[in-house]
């Protein structure tokens, strides 16, 4: 089988994120990294391969984004993907979730995967939804926030937590599964894998290469329009104690609680 893993480049968590006031969209410049949730999806693909229940011919990392997104693909390859595909085209820039899902689905279609994996959310946009959008465009069943996945010849037995407890769902492949971070503990790439990542095949494709209808993508063609950004209502900043002397810290906490009659 072939597994495609959708990955995304996100601003490094340590870097302050901001909105570009001229476009109302997120400023995606600055330090970037592979979305940490996606590392769990790559690990899940590796575990299916290593589990040996179903032979995995190929694990392909797929992304959409500017030139810098190549770094996220290199990281994905260093974590175990065999090769990668980069949809890079000005025409898709500024796409909303639905248009992004469409563009990714078209890119995936060319690969004909048996399984599409992705992280449950991206570290920047905090959307939990791209998996469901991609699945709908591909006409595949899907489930998000999966924390346990067992594979047999043509289906997956998935567990996840939903509104009323844990659900177990049997899903026939091909399918799109977004995984939660509890599903596994991603491995660290070896130095050799990091060094070798740039030598693995990387296919850069344009929108036209994967038959994307340009009238369905990009900021101007997206159904959801960011019209403005504003500051949230101001909230008084909380008090902060840096713990240097724990005895003293605890005294301060107790005094704070006592003042509010909480003890």
């Amino acid at each position: 089988m072939k597994i495609c893993v959708l990955v995304k480049e996100v601003p490094d968590a340590a870097v302050e994120k901001r909105i570009d006031s001229s476009t109302g969209r997120m400023d995606r410049s600055g330090e970037k990294n592979l979305n940490p949730y996606d590392t769990h999806a790559i690990e899940a693909a590796m575990q299916i391969r290593e589990g040996g229940v179903v032979p995995v011919e190929e694990i392909v990392a797929v992304t959409m984004g500017p030139d810098s997104a190549v770094r996220a693909l290199h990281k994905a390859v260093s974590l175990g993907a065999d090769r990668s595909v980069h949809l890079s085209d000005q025409v898709v820039a500024g796409s909303d979730v639905a248009a992004t899902g469409y563009a990714l689905a078209k890119t995936l279609q060319r690969e004909s995967p048996d399984l599409v994996l992705l992280g449950q959310q991206s570290d920047d946009g905090e959307c939990y939804t791209i998996g469901a959008v991609v699945a709908e465009y591909l006409g595949m069943p899907s489930l998000t926030q999966v924390i346990k996945m067992d594979i047999d010849s043509d289906s997956l037995r998935c567990e996840r937590q939903a509104e009323y407890g844990y659900d177990t769902v049997q899903i026939k492949m091909p399918a799109v599964i977004s995984v939660g971070d509890a599903i596994n503990e991603p491995r660290y790439p070896s130095l050799k894998a990091i060094m070798g990542a740039k030598k693995k095949p990387l296919d850069t494709v344009t929108a036209a290469d994967v038959s994307i209808d340009a009238s369905k993508v990009g900021g101007e063609n997206s159904g959801a329009q960011w019209v403005a950004a504003k500051a949230p209502p101001a909230k008084a900043a909380g008090e902060i104690i840096e713990d240097e002397d724990t005895g003293e810290t605890v005294e301060k906490i107790v005094a704070w609680l006592d003042e509010r009659k909480l003890i």
């Binding site: 469901a132 006409g139 899907s142 959801a224 950004a229 840096e242 724990t246």
Partner: protein, 326 residues
């Protein structure tokens, strides 16, 4: 007609609270647009009186579709059918996992714009504008729709439940066909409870533990502190540690767990992800202990302590005991 179609999640004979909030909000917005809010339920033999009861929250009509419960794609099929039959300008979802999945799938099916994590919606100039906090809630973006149908997926607990006084709503069967891919997923078991059945909703003091506790045994520190407070106190947990099997599901706060508002919420080793925040931000006093000074939880705690909880919690337990005894 500017009608709004509202998804209502139900389980075990009751409508989900977030769905009741969404129906209430949908009714209010529809009135402002000069239209009606209709609700849709899908399930196996959905009781007619359960469906009709949504009239109390302002639904003018309730559509009931027959299909497998607990999965998103059958609802995408049903809602797409209802929308194709005409009259809907917006689809509205209360917070929750299924709402996110259905709304996203529906956006793809209809080629519609979607906004998620929405915390407020207003009607302006005959259309709806959705507000969505972004960047760890440090800014709020406003979203309008250019598509024929706009999809609004709210954040958990974003909308207030309001009984607007109406009686039962008329119930209509919705005939629709399941798509081929919707037939590829089957629910094996739903709503399995894992771990002990503990009650945290009634507690006035909650000591909540997260991944920062390091291991399951770390919860002992939380339990001892809760014990020191005594009385009406309990221990709660984040989804990460519940999924890891460290603590029972019944004690979980947030998106797919409980929503609480105790007098004191003491978060130990919790980073403060949005999915957690939505379940506890109504607490009167929030104290956070975390070794990472950049943890988002410090953005919304009243007292933040940057330090090692393994050192602080045992001493705090002793100090609270001493204070109680004095």
């Amino acid at each position: 007609m500017a009608n709004i179609l509202v998804y209502a999640l139900h389980y075990d004979g009751a409508i989900n609270k977030n769905s009741l909030g969404a129906v209430s909000e949908g009714a209010k917005l529809a009135a402002e647009l000069g239209g009606e809010a209709h609700a849709i339920l899908l399930g196996e033999n959905v009781p007619e009186d359960l469906a009709a009861s949504l009239g109390k929250y302002g639904a003018k009509k309730v559509l009931v579709a027959e299909g497998p419960e607990g999965l998103a794609q059958p609802l995408v099929d049903a809602m797409a059918r209802a929308i194709a039959d005409g009259g809907y300008s917006y689809a509205l979802f209360g917070g929750g996992l299924l709402g996110f999945e259905i709304g996203a799938g529906l956006a793809a099916r209809l080629g519609a714009g979607v906004a998620m994590e929405v915390t407020a919606v207003r009607a302006e100039g005959g259309e709806l504008i959705a507000e969505r906090p972004i960047l760890g809630d440090s800014a709020i973006s406003e979203i309008k729709y250019r598509s024929n149908v706009g999809i609004i997926i709210s954040r958990l607990n974003a909308f207030e439940i309001k009984e607007t006084g109406g009686g039962d709503a008329p119930v209509e069967r919705l005939d629709f066909e399941l798509s081929q891919h919707a037939l590829q997923a089957t629910m094996v078991t739903r709503g399995e409870q894992r771990g002990a059945d503990v009650d945290i909703e009634g507690a006035s003091i909650l000591i909540a533990g997260g991944r920062g506790l390091g291991k399951a045994e770390g919860f002992q520190l939380c339990e001892e502190l809760a014990g020191a407070f005594g009385g009406n106190s309990a221990v709660a947990a984040t989804r990460a540690v519940v999924d890891a099997g460290w603590y029972p599901y019944a004690a979980q706060i947030g998106q797919t767990g409980k929503t609480v508002a105790p007098k004191l919420y003491l978060a130990a080793g919790i980073s403060g992800a949005i999915q957690h925040k939505v379940g506890m931000q109504g607490s009167e006093n929030i104290v956070a202990i975390n070794k990472d000074a950049n943890a988002p939880i410090f953005e919304f705690s009243d007292l933040g302590v940057v330090g090692d909880l393994n050192k602080i919690l045992p001493k705090l337990t002793e100090a609270v005991k001493a204070k109680k005894a004095s």
